[in-house]
Symmetry: C7
Subunit: 94 residues, 7 copies
C-alpha cells in the first residue's frame, strides 16, 4: 500500500533508538521519553496550500525532529505513521 | 438522491474493514478503533473559497485517510456520510 | 413580509420529513434527530464580504444540508427560519 | 443629541412588538423572548475598515434582524440603543 | 505633561454627568453605571498600523461613546485617562 | 553589555517615581500601583515584521506609557528591563 | 550530528551562568531562575515561511535573549537544545 499525502503534508515513521545509560544498561525505546525523531516516508507536492505557496524542503529518507503533539497518527498494514504539515517539522538531522 | 458539496468540500463514506488477528480471529469493524479510512463519493468544484483559490486534488472513488474529528456527519437514505473540507483529508491511499 | 439577507447570508427553512421505519411505522419529524436538511428561501447578493469576493452558489428553492449549530434562528410571522453564511451550507441535494 | 457611528458601525433601536395570542390576549413586548428586530437610526460612512473596503448596505429607517448578542448597548437621553458592526446585521425586512 | 498616543491610538477622559431623576434628585456620577461617554484629549497620527492604513476620524474635543472594557487606563498628574484604539470608539456624539 | 532588540521590539526600563501625597508624605515607588511609565533604552530597526512593514516611532530616551502585562521581563547586569513590541507602547510622554 | 532547522527556525543552547551574590557566594545555574540567555548553534535559511518573506537576523554564535516558554526542547547526543522561530528571539546581546 502506498500513501500520497495531500498539499504540504508529510508522512513520517517514528524512530525508536536504543540508548546506553552511563552504567552501560541498554534501555529499549519504550522505557524512555516519547521519541521526537522520525524518518520521512512520503512527501506531498506542496504548491498552493491555504492560499500560500509552500515549497517542500524535506524528502523521503530524511531524518527529522518534529513537534511531539503535531499531526495525526494512522496505522496502515500494522505499522504506525504520523501525517503532519511540513511546518510541524522542526529540523533535519544530518 | 445526489449530493453536490459546495466549494472545497468533499463527501466521503467511511470504510469498515474486517481484520484478521494474529490468532486468525476475524474482528468486525465495530470492535476496532474508529476508522479513519474512507472512499470519496462526491467532490466540490473548488474555486475561490474564503478568498483563496482551491484546486481539488481528490476525485470520486479515491481511498483517503482523514482527521478523525473533522467534518459533519449526515445520514442520507439510511447511509451515513461525512462532509469535510478537502484540507481535512490527510492522504490518498493508492 | 419579505427578508433580504445581507452579504453572503442565506435564509433557510428546515425540512421535517416523515420517515417510515422498517416495521412500517411512520415517525413524525419531532421523534428523530434534529434535522439538517433545509430549503433555501432567500439569498444575499454576495459581493465583497469581509474583504473577500463571494459568489453565491445556492438559489431559492434549493434543498441543502447545513451544519447543525450554524447560523441564527429567527421567527417571522410564526415561522422559524435560520439565517446563515453560505459557507455554513455543506451541500446541495439534487 | 445626534450619534454619528464610526466606520462600518450602525446604531439601531430595538422594536418591541405587541403580539396577539391565538386566544386573543395581547402580550406586551416584555413578556416575550428578547427581540431581534430593530430599526436603523444612524449609519457610519463605511470606507476602509480594518484594512478592508466596506460598503454600507443598510440605511436609516430600515427594519433589520440582528444577532441577539452583537454590539454594545448604550443609553442616550433615556433611550436605549445598540451600536453594532453592519456585519452583525443579518437581514433587512421589507 | 503632554501625551502623544502611538499609531491609531486615542487618549480619552471619561465624562461623569450629573443626572436628575424623575423625582428631581441629583445623582452624582459615581452612583450610576460605569460611564461610556468620554472626551477625546489626544489623537495618534494613524498611518500604517499592523500593516493596514488607518485614517483618524476623531479629533481632540470630540465627545465619543466607547466600549466599556476597551483600552488601558492610565493615571497622569492625578487624572485618569483611557488609551484605546480608534476602532474601540463606537460613535461621535454631536 | 548592549542589547539589540530584533525587528519591531523595544527595550524599556520602568521608571519608579516618588510621589507626594496631599498630606505631604512621600510614597516610595514600591508602595504604589505597578508602574506603567518607562524609558526607552534600545530600539529595533523595524522593517518587515511578520510580513508587514513596521516603522519605528519611538527612540532611545523617550518616556513612554506601556500596557502593564505586555512584553518579557529580563534581568541584565542586575538591572530589570522589559522587551516588548512597539505596538504595546501606548503613548509617548512629552 | 548536525541539525539543520527548517524555514525561520533557530537552534539555541541555553547558557547557565555562575553568579556571585553580594556576600560573595557563588550560585550555580540550577539555583536561579530559569535562564533566558542562549547561544545560537544553527539557523534556518528563512525565505517564504507561512506565505511571508522572512530574513534571518541572527547568526551562529550570537548570544540571544528568548521568550522563556517559546519553542521545543530536544535532546541530541545528551545535549539539550531549544528549537524556536526567530520571532521568539527577543534581542541579541552584544
Amino acid at each position: 500500500m502506498k500513501i500520497r499525502p495531500l498539499g504540504d503534508r508529510v508522512v513520517i515513521k517514528k524512530l525508536e533508538a536504543e540508548e546506553t545509560t552511563k552504567s552501560g544498561i541498554v534501555l529499549p525505546g519504550s522505557a524512555k521519553e516519547k521519541p521526537q525523531e522520525a524518518e520521512v516516508v512520503a512527501v506531498g507536492i506542496g504548491g498552493t496550500v491555504d492560499g500560500k505557496e509552500v515549497k517542500m524542503e524535506v524528502k523521503v529518507g530524511d531524518k527529522v525532529l518534529f513537534s511531539k503533539y503535531a499531526g495525526n497518527e494512522v496505522k496502515i498494514d500494522a505499522q504506525e505513521y504520523t501525517i503532519l504539515k511540513q511546518d510541524d517539522i522542526l529540523a533535519i538531522i544530518e
